[in-house]
């Protein structure tokens, strides 16, 4: 991998991380305000300049950093110190495999927009995510607080339960794409299929029917696997422990749950971890289900080839690269908005409801999905052979 490649992808990594994570506090406030018919965050100002409340994240950070950092008596000091970092680090390093775009040829250098284009991309995210459990579960135990303990037990049970469903829901998608590499999935999703192609194979219409050839659908994950998209989103949101899956921190029952004994920036790290995870979830879903960095019905290689006579090869590649990043980030923003919408419209599930949803609904459905997908693949292979 050339050096310039690393710099481009690290720049994107930093951009997404540093630009999205703090702004998420603002997005959350503004969206909840809009949905509850309030005005929302609009008090923090610099010299009377309010910038739609965008100064609030800055005020939050200053407050968090200057607050007293307390460690309760009887706490396990070391674990109490490291738990917030274990919680937030997996969310950050998950970004390493997210593809913001394909590979571009710029002035003789190949630039890849993925920090680590791994063969086992999705598995990497799952493995890293499974480590995040410790950050939450140790926090409640280390603080020597009974409410914290209850939160810890709830969080570990919830995260283990949903990890099972999380992996199995997307097996159908892996079977169709035949890869775990997120960049390969992005390229495969640029293809299209004919919606009424089965009519031709069934012999209802002849070959070369104009209508059948014209109606095409992009081979996005959400088109091929519509139900798993929502199941995967549900499992990911449960892993992230935000409402409606926030029983581990349920304020009305166990005060603040596992992070009850944290103050200042250590508490802030838990909040930050959750918001970063919202971005990770959106990016992962975009890469796997929403066509990644591609525009529907447009193959990127063909687009670059069409632009080359006008712009020259390098500029055509550069334009495609900039476009890819923007398309990807727009899809991510839409999914973040969707997650916020769910978070502010659903009440918190009761604890047994969370468990029932994971084990009795998501898991059987995802297992059934594997069987159905296998039959589907077999039928398509037989018919189109």
């Amino acid at each position: 991998m050339a050096m310039s490649t690393v710099w481009v992808s690290i720049f994107l990594f930093a951009l997404v991380l540093l630009a999205f994570a703090p702004v998420m506090t603002w997005v959350e406030r503004k969206q909840s305000a809009l949905m509850q018919d309030r005005i929302g965050a609009n008090r923090a100002s610099i010299l009377g300049f309010k910038a739609l409340g965008l100064i609030h994240p800055l005020a939050d950070v200053i407050k968090m950093i200057t607050k007293e950092d307390t460690v309760p008596t009887g706490a396990h000091r070391f674990l109490h110190l490291v738990s917030p970092f274990i919680a937030v680090a997996p969310a950050i390093i998950s970004f390493a495999v997210i593809p913001y775009g394909g590979v571009y040829e710029l002035w003789g250098t190949r630039v890849s927009l993925t920090v680590a284009d791994l063969d086992y991309g999705v598995l990497y995210v799952f493995a890293i995510g499974s480590i995040a459990t410790y950050g939450s579960m140790l926090a409640g135990w280390a603080g020597n607080n009974n409410f914290g303990m209850l939160g810890s037990i709830r969080v570990s049970a919830q995260m283990i339960s949903y990890e099972v469903a999380l992996g199995i829901t997307v097996v159908g998608l892996f079977m169709i794409f035949g890869t775990l590499r997120l960049t390969d999935m992005g390229i495969l999703q640029q293809e299209t299929f004919r919606l009424f192609g089965f009519l031709e194979h069934a012999g209802v219409v002849g070959k070369g029917n104009g209508f059948v050839d014209a109606v095409t659908i992009p081979m996005w994950g959400i088109v091929l696997q519509p139900l798993p998209f929502f199941m995967f989103l549900t499992a990911l949101m449960a892993e992230n422990k935000r409402a409606p899956f926030d029983t581990p921190e349920g304020e009305s029952e166990i005060v603040a749950g596992y992070f009850i004994e944290y103050s200042g920036m250590k508490f802030g790290l838990y909040m930050m971890g959750e918001w970063i995870e919202v971005v990770v979830i959106s990016a992962l879903l975009t890469a796997m289900f929403l066509g990644g960095w591609s525009i529907p019905w447009v193959r990127e290689a063909e687009m670059i080839a069409a632009w080359t006579p006008v712009l020259g090869e390098n500029m055509a590649n550069l334009a495609a690269m900039v476009l890819a990043v923007h398309v990807f980030l727009i899809k991510v923003i839409v999914l973040i908005w969707f997650q916020m919408l769910i978070r502010w419209s659903m009440p918190r599930f009761r604890y047994d409801q969370v468990m029932n949803l994971g084990w009795k609904i998501l898991l059987p459905l995802s297992l059934a999905n594997i069987v159905i997908t296998a039959f589907g693949i077999l039928i398509v292979q037989e018919v189109t052979r």
Binding site: A127, S130, Y134, I153, S156, I160
Partner: protein, 166 residues
């Protein structure tokens, strides 16, 4: 780079493995040492080009099984119980130490005698595709047998957990 990583991971693996048996005062510390040991082992697997095995090691052992250990430890609130009666069993202690030392020496001698270099492997080695192909062609019978065993385990767990069989 590779040698440095190898030494870092192996030191961490051995050190934390000693921590598992060494921290008698707190079962939580033992479980956490086990996690570090698992993660270091995963690092060693990835150094050996077995990325898939390394990732599964993190996901299954570090991310799920030890979480369950911790869950049980927390639920039963095992704190500072100490090793049950290990202090007054000198013969068992001596025997354990002897076996451990003898095993280490034998292993060290065997490894020193072989001195095999890092083998060169093809690029596809250890990828998800290669593992999948091996599992579902050459070793398909073993996979099926393991699957039936796991199913029996699950059924047995349900039967044991259910108070009343209807």
């Amino acid at each position: 780079m590779r040698a440095a990583l190898f030494w870092i991971f192996s030191t961490a693996a051995v050190g934390s493995a000693l921590g598992v048996v060494g921290s008698l005062r707190s079962p939580i510390n033992s479980a956490l040492s086990l996690v570090v040991s698992m993660l270091a082992l995963a690092g060693l697997y990835i150094l050996l080009e077995a990325q898939f095995v390394g990732l599964i090691q993190v996901m299954v052992y570090a991310g799920a099984i030890v979480v369950l250990f911790l869950f049980v430890i927390m639920l039963l609130n095992l704190r500072g119980s100490g090793a049950a009666g290990a202090e007054n069993q000198p013969i068992a202690k001596a025997l354990g130490a002897l076996v451990a030392v003898a095993g280490t020496l034998w292993l060290a001698r065997t490894l020193a005698a072989s001195r095999a270099p890092w083998p060169d492997v093809e690029a596809s080695f250890g990828t998800t595709q290669a593992i999948g192909e091996a599992l579902y062609t050459d070793y398909v019978l073993s996979v099926q047998v393991a699957g039936v065993l796991l199913l029996a385990g699950i059924v047995a767990a349900v039967v044991l957990a259910k108070k009343k069989i209807d």
